[in-house]
Amino acid sequence: MSGQQTNPSQRSRLIRLSISAAANGLSRNRLATIAATTTMTLMLMVLASVLVIRAGLDAALSYADSKIEVVAYLKSSVTEGEARSIQVQIEAIDGVKEATFVSADDALAAFKLRLKERGEPDLTGNLGVNPLPASYEIALDNPADTGRVADGLSSISAASSFTRIIDGRALAENLVAITGALRIVGLIIVIGFSLAVLAVVVNAIRLAILARSDEIAIMRIVGASATWVRLPFILEGLAIGAAGALITLFIFGILSASIGAIMLNLFRVLPVQTSAILAGQVSLSVIAAGLGLGALGALLSLRGRLN
C-alpha cells in the first residue's frame, strides 16, 4: 500500500470491519461455504491419514534399521565355551559393532513376552522342550553393511557352528520400497485433492465477490484501499481452511484410539505412538494446509478482479 498511511486505530477499525464483512459473506453464501468446508475437511482427512500411515512406516523402518541387522543361529550342539570363542571371531569381522549372545532360554522368554504384548495365547507350555536355538544378534557400525557381514560370518572357521544366518537386507529393502511408494502415492492423492479444494474455495470466494460486487464498486470509488477491499475475502478463505482443519482434528481426536490399534496391527512393530504423532506433526500439518489452501484459494479468486 505505497503512499497510504494507515494508523493503528484506523487499522484495527478496518480489521474489525473486514471480520464482520467476512462473517456476513460466509453466512450469506451458506451453501457455497458448506461445500467448500466439506471438501476442505475431506482433503485434510486424506492428508492426515497419509501422514499417520507414513509416520508408522517411518517408525517401522527406523526400528528395522536399529534392531534387525544380522542374526546367526547356533547349532544346539555348540557348548558355552565354544560360543565364547565364536563371539571373538564374530567381533573381529570388519563392520561389526557388537555381538550379543542370546541363549535358547532368553529366546523363549522374549518370544513369550512378544505373544503377551500382542494379546495372543501362549501355547509354548504345551511343548516338552525349548525348540528355539541360541543365537548371536550382531549390531553393525553401518546398517548398509549387512550383506558384507553376513558373507564374513560364512567364511570364519566357526561357520560350521551356525545353522542359519539371517540378515535384515530383505526386510529393510521392502520397508524402504513400501515407504517410498506410499510417499509418492500419498503425494499424488494429496495434490489431487488440494487442486479440487482450491477449485471449490475459489468458486466459493468468487460467489462472495459476485454477491458483494455493488459494495466493492462503492468501496473502490470512495477510496477504500485495495488491501481493505480484499481482506474480507482472504479472511473468508482462511475461515474455510480453519473450519476444515478443526473438524478434521476433532474427528481424528475421536478416532485416535482406533487408529492406534489399526497401526499396531498393520506394522506389528512396537511401539508406534499414534497419539503423539497426531498431537504433533499431523495437527500442525493439517492446520497449516487448511489455512494455506484457504488463503491461496482466496488470492487466486481475487487475482485481477479488484484492481
Binding site: G3, Q4, Q10, I218, M219, R220, V222
Partner: protein, 241 residues
Amino acid sequence: MSHGAELTGDQTAVVDLQGISVTYPSGHIALGDVSLTIQRGEFAFLVGPSGAGKSTLIGLLVRDVLPTKGEVHVAGFPVHRLSGGDVPRLRRRIGVVFQDFRLLPRRTVRENVAFALEVTGTAPDVVATATDRALRIVGLSALADRYPSELSGGEQQRTAVARAIVGDPELLIADEPTGNLDPLISWEIMELLMDINRLGVTVLVATHDSDIVTTLRRRVIGLEGGRLIRDEANATYHRVG
C-alpha cells in the same frame, strides 16, 4: 487540503487535462488531444451524444482509465502517473454520483452514507458528525433510518449525493444524475448540486438533459467523437449560431 502525494499542475484548477488521448487496444480512439481546465468552485456541464467520450473522460478523472498520451491533474494529483497505492487517496478527494444511484439495499440511508467513510478507516465520531452534516445538506435527516427500497427515486439520488459529499470532496462528478428521474425531481437534484457548488465544491455534471443545461446557463464542455468541440461559459445545450 493536505496529502502526501506530490502536488503538481495548476494549483487553482481542480481538473487540468493537457493534450489527453485515450486509445483502446482495439484501436478505437475514445479521446483525442483533449485539453481543458476546471477551476476551483466552478460548475460545468459535460455534454455530447452517446459514444462522444464523456464516460472515458470521467474514467480518467477517477483513474479508472489511463491516458495513452498527455497529462491529467485532479485535485493536485498527477493522475497520469499515480501509483496504484495512491489511487484511493485521489478518490477520497472526489465524490461521484451515478444515474442508477448504486445504494446498498441492506443498509439504511445513514449506513449508506457512513459506509463511504467507514471503509477508509475514519474514526466513528468523525463518521457520525460528517454523516449528519451530509444528510442535513441533502435534506434527508428525517429519513436516515429508512432503507433504499422505502425511498422514492429522488430520495435515493439524494442519498447517493450525501454519500458523495460526506468525505468533503474537492470535486463532485455527477454522471447522468437525473437520467432515471422525472422532470420535477430532476430539478430538485440539480438545485441540490448547485447548493453544494455554492458551498465551494467544484461540480461537473455529465448530462443529456438539454432543458436543464439550457435553463441553467452554466459552462458547457461539449465532446463529439472523442474530440472537444466546444467549451463555452453561460451556454445552452445546443450551440447557438
